[in-house]
Structure formats: C-alpha cells, structure tokens
Symmetry: C2
Amino acid sequence: MVQSSKKIQVVPEPTIRRMPSYLAFAEGLLRKGQQFVSSTQIANYMNIDPTQVTKDLSYTAIVGKTRVGYEVKALVEVLSEFLGFTVMDNAFLVGAGSLGSALLHDSGLSHFGLNIVAAFDVNSSTIGKKINDIEVFHIDQFRDLSQEMNVIMGIITVPAENAQTVADLMVAWGIKAIWNFTPARIKVPDDIIVQNTTLYSNLAIIFNKLHNDRKETR
Amino acid sequence: MVQSSKKIQVVPEPTIRRMPSYLAFAEGLLRKGQQFVSSTQIANYMNIDPTQVTKDLSYTAIVGKTRVGYEVKALVEVLSEFLGFTVMDNAFLVGAGSLGSALLHDSGLSHFGLNIVAAFDVNSSTIGKKINDIEVFHIDQFRDLSQEMNVIMGIITVPAENAQTVADLMVAWGIKAIWNFTPARIKVPDDIIVQNTTLYSNLAIIFNKLHNDRKETR
DNA sequence: TTTCATTAAAGAAAAATTCCTTTAATGATT
DNA sequence: AATCATTAAAGGAATTTTTCTTTAATGAAA
C-alpha cells in the first residue's frame, strides 16, 4: 500500500507511543548485525500481540517479507523518518529548574530531532549562565526571538501554577507546539499543539498497581 | 503497552493519568480559597467531557453534591490518598546522568510519595559524590541493600542498551516495581511491576501532529 | 520438486474507553 | 411556596484500540 501520495491517515496515538521502542529494538539489532526481524520477534520483545506490530508498522512505508520479516536497516530508517527524528526542530525552554536543566543536558533530545536553542527563567541565580552551552535568559527578554530563530516548540518546566502564564507568552511568541511538563492543563488557541507529559502520572500508575497487587495477592 | 497476560486493574489507566491533573487543579483552587468545584469546571479546565470527570471521580471515595459539586479540600485529600501520594515509598535510581540527576534534584517526587534513597552509576566521575544529598554509589556496591532499606522501586535512567542488565540487577535486589525511562522494553518476572516512561514518545507525538498540520493546510 | 511451517497483511470480532442521554436531586430565583 | 436551572450519577451508545481469524506468500526442508 503506497502511502506517500495518499491522503493523510490519522495514526493512533498508542501506535506512535510504541514506535520509539520498536526503533530502539531495531537499533539494537542493527548494532548486533541482524539483518531481518519478524513481527513475532518484535512482539515478543514488547510483550504485545504480533498483529499489533504489523498493524502499527503498516502506517509506515515499510513492507515486510513473508517468512522473513522486516529488514532491520530499513526499519530503523523508516521509523526514524516517520517519527520525525531525522529533521531538526528548534525549541525554547522555560523554567531552568531541576527538570528543565535536565532536559537541557539531555543529548538524547538532539539525537531525536529536537534542538533547544535557548532557555528562560525568572530566577536571577541561573540567568546569564550557560547550561550545556545553552544560554539562560530572563523571561522578559527576546520577546519575538522565536520567529527570528525559527523556533516552533516551547517546553514548559516551571511550577504548575505558572504554566498558563508561560503558555500565553509562548503563543504570543508565535510558537506552534508546546511540550508541557507540568500537571496543569493549559488553554491555548486551537491551532497550537499541546503535549502534556506529567511524570507524576506515571508514578500514580505504579502506585496503583502496587496497591492492587498488595490487595489481590495472586 | 502495559503488562501482558492477566492484569487486574479496576481503575482504567487513562483515568489514573488524568487524576494528577485534577489534583493540581484542585490544589490551585484550594490556594485561592474556593470551597466547591463542579465537574463542569474541572472538565472545562481539562478540555474533556464533564461526564468523564464524574466517571473518573466515581472510582474514588468522594461524593459530589448536586448543584454544588465536589468539596475542594476533600477532593485534594481523596485524590492524594487515592493516587498513593500520601505514603512514602523508597526507591533506588540507576544511571546518574542528565535525566537521572534531574530526578534526583526533583523535590516534586518526594512531594508525591517517592523517596530516592540512593543512586548508582558506573561512571567514576559521579561515584562518591552527592546529588541533592543523595549519594551516588558504584553499581556493584550494596547488592542487597534494597531489602535492608525497604526499597520497593527501581528507577532506570541508563542508556537503552543497558536497561535489561540493570533491570536484572534490580530484580535480584528484590525490587517490586521498576520505573523505566529508556525506550528499551525490559523482561522481568510477572510479579514485578514495570512502568515505561519514554520522553521521546511524547516528542514523536508532537512531531506527528506538527507534520499532519503542515500537510493538511486545508 | 513437493510439502511444510512461518510470516505479513487484511478484515472481523472483542474489548476498552469516551461520549451522549436520561434521571433525580437540590440550591437559587421568583 | 413554586418554579427553574444546574448538577452528579448511572446506563447505554458510539468510537477507538486491541485481539483474533483467515488468507496468501514463500523460504526451508524433505
């Protein structure tokens, strides 16, 4: 099934969530020198159904060979491309606290297509310093630098109560997508993309499972 | 995405994912002095359906009052309790790199019931140092310290290719739950709880939405 | 060559989740 | 006191996502 010239197909979010793990697995196999990988192998690694894998991969351009599987090298390329990891996008980060500076340090982000070009804060102790070669400015500065620098994403790592204020600023800056690391939900115009990533949600899920297990004993 | 085989999960995972945001909202209202909050208000804040909110909250002990809503103070207490944020659990963290040290710095975790008691690494430059008062040991040390210190959770923030090795160690340590921040999927015995939190998945979702928007243009 | 077993792919069925509708309750308004 | 409007809650419909089933292809083995 040719995809490129066809209409846009909405890819289920769970599918996109699984894909980076497929990619990580395929990259590992590539390092080991394995040429082909079957959906069964991937499914086994992921602890999911093999048809889930083939269905997920059917959204990409890759075609598997019967009785052989997918070519590992092609899989890595196709997934990287599909997930948008091969194109560099520029981002601003607001809130250079613990989580914020961690992201600034994380070279993984640049490896996956995200280039943080500047950070902002209100805390005078960090302003003017450089974290991993990324300068930290006061939030009031560079009001319209985003368009100038072709920055399309804003990362929010401030305390939850300041999230909306920062989001409003980012929208005013002309930013297209916001990656919100606070548990607060922000209100933005419809054409702005928002991705909420709340670490504490994951914590809640673990605690819930721990609790259930403790109770159920099975 | 979640566990294989039989999972006895009474509360839907999406529900648990939303709850920390309900909590953040309620905490904000509490600070402002608002006494009651309706499902409509919460839904409006979250950009979801009001019935979704009532259904989610029906899993907890709280009961709303018709035409009034939920008592904010009670909501904060009930949600904190329900999400397991009121009981302290001890954790080990392995991989004191950028993301790892960020988590060590994050006071939010201890606020939400997680107490990181020690960190481990193989990089000699960090070993022996303290990050936010948490000592970093070599991975070979303290093989069975976890039981001694009543540590039930292990946090993996190493490179993806080392995730499985670390997971095996943690299982040997007698750990009950693993919070895996790598895109690699780890294999552990059935009774061990695994929560995968891959930042790059969220990045992939944003890129996907940005791409679709670029193409659509309608 | 022929048979067999494994695989991708497509479509159907099942399960999970979200959204919609109805009902009853009750504070606010007249 | 009577009416109105808003709300929580419950049940069911619609949608989304996952799992199951079937089919066809083909490399490997006999």
